[in-house]
């Protein structure tokens, strides 16, 4: 009997390892690496340094906005207004530039205005207690509308070359884009906050059970409020980067980007119900989506087909973890039965 119980114990320890290996964030990281390898080998021009630079520039807005979005979704909320904040700050950037403000003033100003947009979201959601889905669908329309009020259908294009060049440029003669440094620094900061600080611990507790979090002395509303402010500020920053990259301030910049961000976050293994997910998984999710789209485009696959692939991947990302859990459970049960039989 004692023999069989020690056996059972070993199996449950092995269960921990298999759990880790079959968790969705590890699967998505492995999958991303595989896709990158296959694409480099099979798709012409995919592995070139030029293409690498473009891919990084393409995933820049999604990956930056996904950093705070991951935290927000982990707490069980959502921010759908991010792309509109991006458009709003882009439009404001053009308007400020036309009105003679210096670019050195405009950039911090736009980030602050993005944060103020987040303050509005945060106020409606945490102070008035309105549901974040409804609030941010509302402000999605509101901020985009304001963007058109500011700039109309026009575009502003004559931003200083030194700035636009920095955003599109690479470090020296290497293929590493300047913005990759920005991505790395921000991802590191967000990763540390989410996974190795008291605030990060609080996010998961809030998402899994906000009442118990409240009883544990966590300031639930305040934490969520600041998440929206940070999300707004990052969206403002991305509005600036977007404008400089295309050298074009337009009110419709980044339309629909919020769904790509949410898709990437969910693909990365974050539960839409909150409480579960990791930033490395999300980063892999963003890279996977970007690499697939990039590779398929290089293969001249049409835009519609791209959408089909993205959509299918998303559905799979929801389906597969459930299948993995079921398989894991079956495997575990079978081993137990064998252990029990051999002990008898």
């Amino acid at each position: 009997m004692s023999d069989s119980s020690s056996k059972l114990h070993r199996f449950s320890a092995a269960g921990g390892l298999s759990k880790r290996l079959t968790s969705w964030d590890s699967i998505i990281i492995v999958l991303t690496v595989i896709v990158l390898i296959i694409a480099s080998a099979a798709v012409d021009n995919f592995g070139t340094s030029r293409n690498f630079t473009f891919m990084v520039l393409d995933l820049l807005p999604i990956i930056l906005i996904a950093l705070p979005m991951t935290m927000i979704i982990v707490t069980g909320e959502i921010d759908l207004s991010v792309a509109s904040v991006l458009g709003f700050t882009s439009a404001l950037m053009g308007w400020f530039w036309n009105n003679g403000l210096s670019i050195e003033t405009i950039i911090p100003l736009c980030i602050v205005i993005g944060a103020v947009c987040g303050v509005l979201n945060g106020f409606l959601i945490t102070v008035l207690g309105l549901p974040s889905l409804a609030v941010t669908i509302g402000t999605l329309a509101l901020f985009r509308g304001l963007a058109f009020v500011v700039l109309g259908d026009g575009a502003v294009a004559d931003f200083p070359f030194s700035y636009t060049e920095w955003v599109t440029g690479t470090i020296g003669s290497s293929p590493v884009p300047n913005v990759l440094i920005l991505i790395a620094v921000l991802a590191l900061i967000f990763g540390i906050v989410q996974h190795a600080t008291p605030v990060g611990r609080a996010l998961y507790a809030i998402g899994a059970n906000d009442k118990a979090a409240h009883f544990s002395g966590i300031r639930v509303a305040r934490t969520k409020f600041w998440l929206y402010v940070v999300s707004g500020a990052v969206a403002g920053l991305v509005g600036v980067l977007w404008t400089l990259r295309y050298s074009s301030a337009r009110a419709d910049n980044g339309s629909g980007l919020e769904l790509a961000v949410v898709a990437a976050v969910l693909l990365g293994g974050v539960s839409i119900f909150g409480g579960k997910g990791s930033l490395p998984g999300v980063l892999a999710g963003v890279v996977l989506l970007a690499a697939l789209q990039n590779a398929l485009r290089l293969e001249d696959v049409s835009g519609q087909a791209l959408n089909i692939v993205t959509g299918a991947l998303l559905v799979l990302s929801v389906l597969l973890p459930n299948i993995a859990t079921a398989v894991r459970g079956n495997w575990h049960r079978r081993r137990l039965r064998q252990a029990a039989a051999s002990a008898r």
């Binding site: 540390i192 600080t197 611990r201 609080a202 009442k211 459970g329």
Partner: protein
Amino acid sequence: MAESPAKPGNRAGDPGPARLEVADVTKSFGAVAAVQGVSFPLFPGEAHALVGENGAGKSTIVKMLAGVHRPDTGTLRVDGADVEFAGPADAKAAGIAVIYQEPTLFPDLSVAENIAMGNQPLSKLRQIDRRTMHDNAEKLFRRLGVPLDPTRPARGLSIADQQLVEIAKALSAEARVLIMDEPTAALSGVEVERLFSVVRSLRDEGAAIMFISHRFEEITALCQRVTIMRDGRHVATELVAELSIDDMIRKMVGRDLSALFPKQEVEPGEVLLEVEGLSREGVFRDITFNVRAGEIVALAGLVGAGRSEVMQAVFGVDPYDSGTVRFAGRKLKAGSPRAAMAAGLALVPEDRRQQGLVMDLSIERNVTLPRARKLARLGLLFGGTERRSAQTWTEKLQTKLGRLSDAVGTLSGGNQQKVVLAKWLATGPRLLIVDEPTRGIDVGTKAEVHRLLSSLAKDGMGVVMVSSELPEVLGMADRVVVLREGKIAAELTRAEATEESVMYAAMGQKVSA
């Protein structure tokens, strides 16, 4: 252990053939054999208690009878015929109704609609015949002797009333076996009495009742037969009249328990907590009391008297309208659990699942959650720090667990309660508020919790204990503050507090018998 499960012969009035029989049933979940070779009969016209410590397998038995789980081996028999339940609907069709500790009514439907759910009377045009539905509900309530309005929505009913609605629902489905899984855990004394009178009349009408409870006085008051389980195994099925409570406890835990309520005498120290004129509109009014170091103060009263609400306001999780809370002479900021924690308060809340723990998070994260900021070095937290701290505290409280990285929801109720206690004791409080500290946990753990509270008080901690269990209140408390309808009805010293004096104050009237 090879005790024959059915011993109908040893009762004066032969109960006849079993209505429902559990025969040599086994059920495992993953590594855990929850139930192993358990057999017992339920006879018509009898109430049968199922007792055992938490994790003894009682709930698994209930779920098999309810058709939620299927036994791995063994059989269930209804009226002598083998049955297999593919789902809860089959169990219901076989005449088995289960009433859980927390009823699951549809809050926005009326009481009558809830009762008729899945079984609505239809008019000629195949529409729901609302009048018949309401008449039926009224008839059922008359039969049960309870004054409930069938037209009111289920939302806002007390748990006791919700259980009565569930019983009415079971009757309307013509259930002949009624299984009640800790129905009294959240009920006050009067409500328990009312429930029992309903159950007794059903029993006398020939229903077979299975009753699960941790309270022995309820078992002796209601049941004829008792089945005792330990670690998933069947220990004994006997007539209640032939067993003393001590016998039952011995069989449940497999050892003797010295004393259930071992509060030691302590000379109280300085005043820690002073609550003065605390009021919250519609919840509690003008609450004034204090707690000294080394003292255990119990808040007694009926469920709904506002005890938990007062303590939650003191700790800052709920707001209050007026009054003051002082701790060690200093005024405590209202509405801020963080300020209360910093001052040296800790609250072990009533509802483990909703308030005490984050079920999906690991044991170690739960234990360290209130202290995450203190454990951080340069603002950073690493797994090792949290694990070591959680290890220390779960060991101190002798928590039985697999790995600290397991979700806390995988533990049994008693061990979950230990995790909550560990979580708060680790914050080093000077005053510990415990709300129903032993609700739904087994006798062994209960005694451990009582010993722990007593030794904490001995070391100079102040303890406020909200409890609905009179023996616990009388055994543990130095002083008893009794609340009734949101107001303080009495403050009794240890010498003054008796079952009668506490109940008298709690109900505001003389209790007969």
